[in-house]
């Protein structure tokens, strides 16, 4: 028997799990109105979607057994996971900080951090980006289109 493609089986299992999770959450997360017809009830479409997702998951598992693999496993080395994970954490930190400190100042700092993380070592380019970009965005949103950005305690 042909060796099943492991990643396809994992993907299928995850989808089946997610579909089942949606079905499990429906009673607690959706308030059905008594007397409402099944087809027009708020839980109808989510339930249908959950069943279809489970079927797709089963289809992927079947593919894992029946079809030869064409694409390789996902590229998830330690370095990749670390760099992307760090970027996510920094982005969340930026989102927590900029309403408090102010958009312009925080954005300037984070543009510099990200440019360094990407590998730029040109101090001039980083410095110009840290100043020009947040000011440009501020001018565009606040001055040109009068859309306020958070000023925080700094600006």
């Amino acid at each position: 028997m042909r060796q099943p493609y492991l990643w396809r089986l994992i993907e299928g299992a995850v989808l089946i799990g997610l579909g089942a999770l949606i079905l499990v959450l429906i009673p607690s997360q959706i308030q059905n109105i008594p007397g409402m017809e099944t087809e027009t009830s708020p839980s109808f479409l989510p339930a249908v979607l959950a069943v279809l997702i489970i079927l797709m998951g089963a289809g992927l598992i079947a593919q894992g057994f029946l079809k030869p693999r064409r694409d390789g496993p996902p590229d998830l080395t330690r370095v990749v996971v670390f760099r992307v994970g760090l970027s996510v954490v920094l982005l969340i930190l930026y989102t927590v900080v900029f309403p408090r400190l102010g958009f312009v100042v925080t954005s300037g700092v984070f543009v510099g951090i990200y440019a360094y993380l990407f590998g730029s070592r040109s101090i001039l380019k980083i410095a110009i980006s840290m100043v020009a970009v947040p000011i440009g965005i501020w001018l565009f949103f606040e001055i040109l289109f009068r859309i306020p950005l958070p000023h925080g305690i700094l600006y």
């Binding site: 959706i30 059905n32 087809e39 708020p42 479409l45 959950a50 590229d75 992307v84 990200y114 958070p150």
Partner: protein
């Protein structure tokens, strides 16, 4: 019609109107090209200004922004794989691979030609037979709309990736995300997990920005640039043919352009459907009828022509239900309805009789806008391709900050930025596991229309699903859906067999 043309021409051809159309196009292209900014927002901001302008000038300004914005979304789609507007997601599929091959100039030019031609033909059709098309559009009830959306989503799921099941799964999740919030019929909350900000549903723009721009940011940050090495987004080829569309290439794609235009006009004429549906259906049709379907998704010029023509051909079609029935086709035409009403132009069959001069002046403005669009977009081309020479290390941080600002300013709510990050992470994971993100976005966009049409259809048929298969127009879409799926599978198998035969031949020809 003819009796209105001369007075309409006199009304339109003033310096102010020409300037206003050009300004609208420029604003639209710029805004459309920047991920994090959206065209409906700018149209809404410009709306009050148009109240103080003569009606032709005011409407022409917004139409210029509409046309420019629809094209502008393709610029960032091609250059940095981030659509500036939802409809440009189809352009990402082949535009960005072309840019990575050094053919960004070719892709951008194809986008201009497809956009301008699609818009031009669409506008001519609008001017000639708007009323008749509106009558056909009136026959679309909830059952037909439901079938159309299912057809559109299946097409999108199937054509946007080699992995059909994954594409359809992504679309299903998109529809699921759309159900989060309040039920459209009863108002009950669904999957809000106690978060107040989710009662109104997942905000659209942060979702779009996260899924495309932020996920791409995470993909880019995987690779660090070595110190001292200039790493650009994509190489710019020195070969002149890589920066232009040759006459031979254009001729080879004329059928694609015409077919995509007709799809765009048809889809645009249906209230509630937008350029995104048209772009993907046109792309799918092109892939299924192409002599080289295996090139789609890897930098096919035909794919870019199909997506962009279908995308822009909607603009004329979308005005049909607006002008003839007063029903806007999308968010932008909904805002434009305000301009018409403020200037005393009440949409409907009488509009063409009572205000014929003004309406036909607007139509002339549409045609002139197409010509100006070509020149303005072509002039901006060199500037846009220069972006490719900017180092990733500088460009992507700038993009992420603009995205955060764009997400925040939608509702001045920091929660929206967290939504952006969530979908950025989700989009990144999807890309790593070869799940296409475009169907998820389209599922989200069309999920609302899908659910309300389904519920309305079931109410009208007392809970029976039979009308979906018995009403003629609905049955056409059901048949097209099944045909599309099987045809795509067949074409994929054919391409796979061809690839296997070539590999076998290569092995046989290798010296022992």
């Amino acid at each position: 019609m003819l009796e209105h043309l001369l007075p309409a021409a006199q009304l339109f051809f003033t310096f102010q109107n020409l300037l206003v159309v050009a300004a609208g196009l420029f604003i639209g292209i710029t805004i459309g090209a920047i991920p994090g900014l959206n065209v409906p927002m700018i149209v809404a901001l410009l709306l009050p200004i148009t109240f103080y302008m003569p009606p032709v000038a005011g409407i022409s300004l917004l139409l210029g922004v509409y046309k420019g914005g629809t094209y502008g979304g393709s610029i960032s789609a091609i250059l940095i794989n981030t659509p500036g507007a939802p409809a440009a997601a189809a352009t990402c599929l082949d535009g960005y691979p072309m840019a990575k091959q050094g053919k960004a100039g070719k892709a951008l030019r194809a986008s201009i030609y497809g956009s301008v031609i699609g818009e031009f033909i669409s506008d001519i059709v609008l001017i000639s037979i708007a009323a008749q098309i509106a009558m056909v559009a009136l026959k679309f009830g909830p059952t037909e709309k439901f079938s159309l959306v299912v057809f559109a989503l299946c097409t999108i799921g199937v054509v946007s990736s080699e992995h059909k099941l994954k594409g359809i799964t992504a679309a299903l999740f998109g529809i699921f995300f759309r159900t989060i919030g309040s039920d459209p019929i009863s108002g009950s909350s669904r999957f809000t997990v106690g978060i107040f900000d989710l009662i109104g549903g997942i905000p659209f723009l942060p979702h779009l920005i996260g899924l495309f721009a932020v996920s791409e940011f995470f993909v880019q940050i995987e690779k660090k640039i070595s110190a001292g090495k200039q790493d650009v987004i994509a190489p710019v080829s020195k070969n002149p043919d890589d920066n232009r569309v040759t006459w031979k290439e254009f001729k080879a794609n004329i059928v694609t352009i015409i077919r995509s235009t007709l799809i765009g006009i048809g889809v645009g004429a249906l209230p509630g459907s937008g350029s995104a549906i048209s772009a993907f259906v046109s792309y799918g049709a092109a892939k299924n009828t192409s002599k080289k379907p295996e090139e789609f998704g890897k930098g096919s010029l035909e794919g870019v022509f199909a997506a962009e023509t279908g995308n822009n051909a909607v603009t004329g079609g979308a005005l049909i239900p607006l002008l003839t029935l007063g029903i806007p086709g999308d968010a932008i035409t909904a805002i434009m309805l305000g301009v018409f009403l403020v200037h005393g132009l009440i949409p409907g069959p009488d509009l063409f009789v009572k205000s014929g001069d003004v309406i036909y002046a607007v139509f002339i403005g549409l045609i002139v806008a197409n010509i100006l669009h070509f020149f303005i977009a072509s002039l901006g081309l060199r500037l846009f391709t220069k972006l490719l020479s900017v180092s990733r290390a500088v460009l992507f941080p700038i993009v992420i900050i603009i995205c955060a600002a764009g997400s925040y300013t939608v509702n001045s709510n920091i929660f929206d930025v967290y939504v952006m990050i969530f979908f950025g992470v989700l989009g990144y994971i999807m890309k790593k596991f070869n799940f296409p993100v475009a169907p998820l976005m389209m599922g989200y966009i069309l999920g609302g229309l899908l659910e309300t049409s389904l519920i309305q259809a079931l109410i009208l048929s007392d809970g029976s699903v039979l009308p979906i298969f018995t009403r003629p127009i609905s049955l056409v879409f059901v048949v097209l859906t099944v045909f599309f799926i099987f045809w795509s599978l067949f074409m994929q198998k054919k391409a796979l067999d061809r690839r296997k035969r070539r590999e076998e031949q290569r092995r046989r020809n290798l010296p022992s």
